[in-house]
Amino acid sequence: MSQEQDQVQGDAGKWRIEVDRLVCAGTGLCLGTAHGRMRLDGGRARPVEDVITPDDAVTDAAETCPMEAITVRDATTGEVLAPLR
């Protein structure tokens, strides 16, 4: 979904992906888990798009990241959706 559409529809029901690039070790694990959602930039992960429509592959990536570098939040409330424990 494009940035423009995001703005038109608002962030209701959407998720925000955050990557702590100081913590990310560049393992590339999330590129496989959340295929098409993450990319490597300068050896560290970055979301392809920050705000997305819900996709369990992204919470899975946050749950499996060995550095716990990925946080997925509800884009409106900021509530943490993953990692949970």
């Binding site: 393992t27 590339g28 694990l29 496989g32 899975d60 749950e63 499996t64 060995p66 424990r85």
Partner: protein, 400 residues
């Protein structure tokens, strides 16, 4: 090479494995032909990747299947292909489903708890070594007991059952010294043991791997067979690797003793030093676990056909001069060290942070207590284990 040999890609491996040396052929290939053809001991021809970028691109590409590489016609170095059923021989979606479950037992908080337990063990082993006086054997004192302790703590094996667990796991991981029957018996024994452990631990769940798998079993995310196989896979993947790496790191730092001295002078260097060790040490004697292309894929400008087998020499990729300045020199001052010592992509080492913690407590323990540590003989005197899978000294006698 003899004249009678039939034409075709060169035979792999290129020659005998010597200590931690890499055959010079790898560096030539990395420079001139980072995607090349070789003839494997079993199963015919394969592609061999030796360039950093090519290996990384390959490992990140979901079109290469690990599961397909368990087929009996897969080109490989070992007589038998890897069995299906463990993480490393799985593809999506099964791989992700199981990896997500077990990843919970490797979270940073848990790894740091495990590191404390490993530190206690290092202290008591080094007490005993100091007491007994030189020479001490770092393989017996550190490299053998430490991974065992790590694994029983990780799995949450109760204290009273550790001896039994060790009996099976010892046979199981030391493949060369045992007969096929003994290994199969140990495999059955260990499966049975894990099954019983799962049944027993239900009442006292904690943060360990077995508890995490029980929760997933109950939630229907995992079957019991999968739980048991995954447990064995983690044991296989974590034991021999860390045992060998503890020995190899100690060997390298003492064989080039100025490295050890520099670390004792400036213990802050320990993290970059360990990363450099992971980069430079070719843990796996030859090749890698194979993957097979599920469709035609272009890597480094070369078309790899559907069904073809691909292996890589990680240690050569980590000496690629396009990425690492002065690649054959051990340096603790690299600004960036994006080595592939724990792999890359989907199968990136599950135990990486635990392995790092293990190496760190071993080295910290040694440096704090034995700043004058050195090899008891010359580096050439150190005996090496035979075999084609993991490199490691057989024993490592030191004095202080």
């Amino acid at each position: 090479m003899t004249v009678t040999e039939t034409a075709g890609p060169p035979k792999y491996p290129f020659g005998p494995v010597v200590r931690l040396d890499l055959h010079p052929r790898y560096a030539e290939l990395c420079r001139n032909e980072p995607v090349s053809r070789v003839t494997m001991p079993y199963g015919g021809e394969a592609w061999l990747l030796t360039g950093y970028h090519e290996i990384k691109e390959f490992l990140a590409d979901p079109r290469f299947s690990s599961h397909a590489a368990t087929e009996p016609d897969t080109a490989r170095v070992t007589p038998l292909p890897l069995r299906p059923g463990n993480l490393l021989s799985m593809d999506p979606p099964d791989h992700g489903r199981i990896r997500k479950v077990v990843a919970h037992a490797f979270r940073p908080r848990i790894v740091s708890q495990l590191a404390d337990r490993m530190r206690d063990l290092v202290d008591s082993e080094l007490d005993a070594m100091e007491e007994a006086g030189p020479p001490g054997d770092l393989v017996q004192r550190l490299a053998i007991p430490l991974p065992v302790r790590m694994i029983v703590e990780l799995f949450g094996v109760p204290y009273e059952e550790r001896a039994e667990f060790r009996r099976y796991s010892d046979v199981f991981v030391a493949t060369s010294a045992h007969t096929k029957e003994e290994i199969n018996e140990a495999r059955d024994g260990l499966e049975e043991f894990l099954r019983r452990l799962i049944a027993k631990r239900r009442s006292s769940l904690s943060d360990d791997l077995v508890s995490v798998m029980i929760e997933a079993l109950d939630a229907g995310e995992l079957s019991e067979v999968e739980a048991v196989r995954t447990g064995i896979g983690v044991l296989m993947a974590g034991h021999e690797t860390s045992l060998s790496m503890i020995s190899n790191v100690c060997f390298l730092l003492l064989a080039q003793r100025e490295l050890y001295a520099r670390l004792c002078d400036d213990p802050e260097l320990i993290d970059p030093a360990l990363e450099e060790m992971l980069r430079i040490i070719p843990l796996r004697s030859v090749g890698s676990f194979p993957r097979r292309a599920s469709e035609d894929v272009v890597i480094g400008g070369v078309t790899i056909r559907k069904g073809d087998t691909v292996i890589f020499q990680r240690a050569q990729g980590d000496r690629d001069e396009r990425v690492f300045e002065d690649p054959d020199t051990i340096r603790f001052d690299r600004e960036r060290n994006p080595h592939l010592g724990f792999g890359h992509g989907m199968h990136y080492c599950l135990g990486a942070s635990l392995a790092r913690a293990e190496l760190r407590v071993a080295l910290e323990g040694l440096m704090a207590r034995f700043p004058s540590l050195r090899l008891a003989g010359t580096a050439e005197d150190v005996p090496w284990k035979p075999g084609l899978i993991a490199r490691a000294p057989e024993s490592l006698l030191v004095t202080w």
